[in-house]
């Protein structure tokens, strides 16, 4: 979601004045960011947003706080490394909106090493364009392995290549040997890659 979409999704949130105040505070005193970022989850709420059920007011508010704070790079990294899962998800969702270049890549690589499907899915959003092809392919296969829907992967068809097809084919063979099915979206992806190669 873009910044204006985030703000547009928040009008019904009762505590949005708390958010306006918090944004003003981190603009003038960025050292307040860690505490306000931590509290935003419970202050703004954890229920799904009406228009975007995969987002919560707390998540949207945290992303807006990151957009408000000046001199972002080190502060963003600090919030991730000292964050709980909710805070880490907010940083991962914000990365593509922040002017921090490749500085967020170690965070995404860390998220891909976890076994939490929420973090793995968030790592493969739009900011994943900064990942190397090898790391990105491993992430996609891990999604298939963990049952994360491939619709969560940004620019999937654009980046899917012969090497990813080979990895998925290998996984399909292992699954067949174990009498287990591949997820339908993974089989469909494999077919699309192979179709693209024949064209």
């Amino acid at each position: 979601m873009r910044a204006d979409e985030l703000r547009g999704a928040l009008p019904g949130v009762p505590e949005k004045e708390w958010l306006s105040d918090a944004e003003a505070r981190v603009r003038t005193d960025p050292d307040q960011l860690p505490a306000l970022f931590a509290r935003a989850g419970r202050k703004l709420g954890r229920q799904p947003l009406a228009d975007r059920p995969d987002w919560t007011p707390g998540l949207a508010g945290r992303v807006l706080l990151l957009l408000a704070v000046p001199h972002k790079d080190d502060r963003v990294l600090d919030l991730y490394w000292h964050g709980d899962t909710g805070e880490r998800l907010a940083v991962l969702h914000a990365l593509a909106l922040l002017p921090i270049g490749d500085a967020g890549v170690p965070l995404v690589e860390d998220a891909l090493r976890t076994n939490d499907t929420r973090l793995v899915a968030a790592a493969l959003g739009p900011y994943a364009r900064h990942l190397s092809p090898a790391t990105w392919r491993q992430g996609v296969v891990k999604c298939v392995f963990m049952g994360v829907p491939l619709s969560r992967v940004d620019r999937l068809d654009e980046r899917a290549d012969a090497e990813l097809a080979a990895m998925l084919t290998g996984l399909a063979q292992e699954r067949a040997a174990a009498g287990r099915r591949m997820p339908a979206d993974a089989t469909a992806l494999l077919n699309r890659i192979q179709q693209k190669q024949e064209d």
Partner: protein, 283 residues
Amino acid sequence: MRVFDPHIHMTSRTTDDYRRMADAGVRAVVEPAFWLGQPRTNPGSFADYFDSLLGWEPYRASQFGVRHHATIALNPKEANDPRCRPVLDLLPRYLDKDGVVAVGEVGYDSMTPAEDEAFGTQLALAREFELPALVHTPHRDKAAGTRRTLDVIAESGIDPGRVAVDHLNEVTVGLVRDTGCWLGFSIYPETKMSPPRMVEILQRYGTERVLVNSAADWGHSDPLLTVATGEAMLAAGFTADDVDLVLWRNPVAFYAQSGRLDLSDLPAPEPSYAGSSLARGGS
């Protein structure tokens, strides 16, 4: 029977335990930070542990339909190692997190000056971060340790209604009963309390401000002894509402004082929970 275990160290338990607990009605747990058997030697080791209590363990619990919260503190045993003292400097950042519903376990192990300082400092942090405190009472010299614990709590200025004094027994319950603190009882297979002894205490002292936990960890312990205590209460003539008060509403009321307890959308435990095989990731 719905059960909230207000003190259990799930980090040390298996997925089989989570499944059995969910099947028996345990729908929510609080995991206090404590020691891990093997002493730690540096603050980084604690940071990873605290991160796990707020990250991986709640996620693992959610696979079985169990809601997981944590309490964070430097425990009294490791407060005695000067290499672990800087953990106190890590705490403020953690005490602001959504999943933290109390400061704990704090209190005494051997009643040393280092433990005095860590205990007092952390009760002050509980006030600063508007959190309740979960207080461990020592296994050795328990009655004297409990008296000293109550003195420190009174001197700290924290509201006693925001303090749970844990691991009580027949000898120490009377000391705590009239202080306004909550009364915690850990039900163990052999040591500490047993379900029949717990029922006798409830008959004598009532159900008000009583918390019953399994304190199950890496030692000989049983995460289903909360449920067994509920069954023993029913067999002794307590009503289902009494059991619900002790095993659900009391712990909810105590930890809800944090303002952070999140029991929304809690699924009813199902005998054959579909998500019971934990996703292990790509390797």
